[in-house]
């Protein structure tokens, strides 16, 4: 099984480890509940170094990305990090990813750990038929970068302190002061880059720091020394669900396209890109629901409306912040838009769930 450079650090913290897409990762340190609440109230740090970093460069890189991604990247403010989908011809999703423009001819795609190899192979395959392929280079640099996510409203100070501690000469404290939400900054570091974005997967303010691997342990230690709570993948999943953020393989997949998942705002339609056919199908829709009693919805539980099964839960959990069950469900598009409740079969009994807006919690 693969492990990140922080494997020993996690063991020293007595983390409960779990196999996640072939990676031995921390599920939790002290508990999913208190880790989730630490991020909601103060700040927590996640080792997400397993995620993939695919670099696309060259004079025709931007045009190529416009063609393979759901968003027209060349139109976007280069300081922003953009969420986008990599799709098949029919609109089925290969992966969801974040796009960083590092210069007009250099882009980083941050992809799901489970999909890195698949994405890389797929991008190469599409590139092979791309007319300007000689002007594009695609490289998997996942082995070069570690990734730490510091999340929560009190993120800035510990991130400043830790980065100043590891890189005293880079003037990062004032640069971080100026970095706005959803924007990124980067600077050369030896043969690679230090990339910092004010983004995350929790709904909270926070920072994601892409750092050459040899610095990962000292950055992690410095962040913990600032009193930031280490958090595992269990809390990460609870946090992303509370924030109404989808997970690849659950709410979007090869079978569920972005429009069906209600994510049309991350698709620039009416142009030629791989996957533009997604607007032609509408086989299901994703809804958000919350419990009216103490029932906790879980993945694959059946969803009913007026006595008929109309779908199933794609992600479900107890929400530590709301103290109740919340979920995404994949249902028939025929479920009326004004429907207020559905029923979920929870251990042979049916429980009422309210259809709700996302995010599930108020920020």
């Amino acid at each position: 099984m693969k492990q990140t450079l922080l494997y020993e650090s996690h063991q020293k913290l007595n983390a409960k480890m779990v196999d996640f897409a072939g990676w031995n990762m921390p599920l939790q340190y002290t508990g999913i509940k208190d880790e989730t609440l630490a991020v909601r109230k103060d700040v927590g740090v996640f080792d997400v170094s397993h995620m993939g970093e695919i670099f696309v460069s060259g004079k025709d890189a931007a045009e190529f990305l416009d063609y393979i991604l759901s968003r027209k990247i060349s139109d976007k403010n280069p300081a922003l990090t953009n969420y986008a989908f990599l799709c098949y011809e029919d609109g089925g999703v290969v992966d969801d990813l974040m796009v960083y423009q590092l210069n007009p001819e250099l882009f980083m795609l941050v992809v799901n750990a489970a999909n890195t190899e698949k994405d890389f192979a797929y991008i190469q395959e599409v590139l092979a038929d791309f007319p300007k392929k000689s002007g594009v280079l695609v490289e998997d640099r996942s082995d070069i970068y570690g990734l730490l996510a510091v999340q929560g409203k009190d993120s800035l100070e510990p991130v400043q302190d830790a980065l100043a501690n590891v890189f005293p000469d880079l003037g990062l404290v004032s640069k971080l002061e100026e970095l706005k939400r959803f924007r990124q900054m980067h600077l050369p570091l030896e043969e690679a880059l230090l990339i910092i974005s004010r983004t995350g997967y929790t709904g909270e303010d926070g920072y994601e720091i892409y750092i050459p691997q040899k610095y990962v342990v000292s950055l992690w230690d410095s962040i913990l020394e600032s009193g930031v709570k280490p958090c595992g993948l269990g809390a990460r999943d609870a946090l992303r669900l509370e924030a109404g953020l989808v997970l690849y393989g659950n709410e979007i997949s090869e079978q569920i396209n972005p429009i069906e998942a209600g994510l049309t705002k991350f698709v620039d339609l009416n142009r030629n890109f791989v996957g533009s056919k997604m607007s032609e199908t509408y086989r299901y829709k994703i809804i958000a629901i919350k419990a009216t009693d103490r029932s906790i919805p879980r993945e694959n539980y059946k969803v009913f409306y007026q006595g008929e099964q109309i779908g199933k839960i794609t992600s479900g959990s107890f929400s530590p912040t709301l103290n109740k069950g919340i979920a995404f469900a994949l249902v028939s598009p025929e479920l009326p838009d004004d429907a207020k409740t559905v029923q979920i079969e929870v251990r042979r009994k049916q429980a009422d769930f309210l259809i709700t807006e996302t995010p599930f919690i108020q920020f």
């Binding site: 409960k16 599920l27 939790q28 508990g31 999913i32 509940k33 208190d34 989730t36 269990g234 999943d237 609870a238 103490r294 906790i296 879980r298 959990s317 107890f318 530590p320 251990r347």
Partner: protein
């Protein structure tokens, strides 16, 4: 460290059972609570109902998963430990102190089917 107490018996499905004459208390083991993580809900079937060994008598849910509870022996549910309805996390704090149900034992011979400390240790060593 996972604790196993030597005053009681165990089932392969990670319940413990503590006998007091023809009454028994049933809960989940320290190993089970540790695997589940933060427990947020516990429920059992109605008091007065009869269950056979191996039947589902309730469930326990943590943030990340739901798990059924199995009767280690035949018995009638006399009482559900109501304090767990409001404070299910007590099981995380002390899995052996916080029993889930109290039962009337209807087939005492089944005690022979249950696991002792060493046998249960072997079960968790395999997992």
């Amino acid at each position: 460290m996972i604790e196993i107490k030597n005053d009681r018996y165990y089932a392969e499905t990670h319940e413990w059972i503590l006998f007091e004459d023809d009454i028994a208390y049933i809960g989940i083991t320290d190993f089970a609570q540790s695997e589940l993580g933060d427990i947020v809900y516990v429920e059992s079937e109605e008091e007065g109902e009869l269950f056979e060994q191996g039947e589902i008598f309730g469930s326990v849910e943590s943030v990340k998963m739901a798990s059924d509870l199995y009767m280690p022996i035949d018995g009638e549910i006399l009482e559900f430990n109501e304090i767990l309805a409001d404070e299910p996390e007590l099981i995380n704090e002390d899995a052996y102190e916080n029993w889930i149900i109290k039962v009337k034992v209807t087939n005492p011979d089944q005690q022979n089917d249950l696991l002792g400390v060493k046998e249960y240790q072997a079960v968790i060593d395999e997992e």
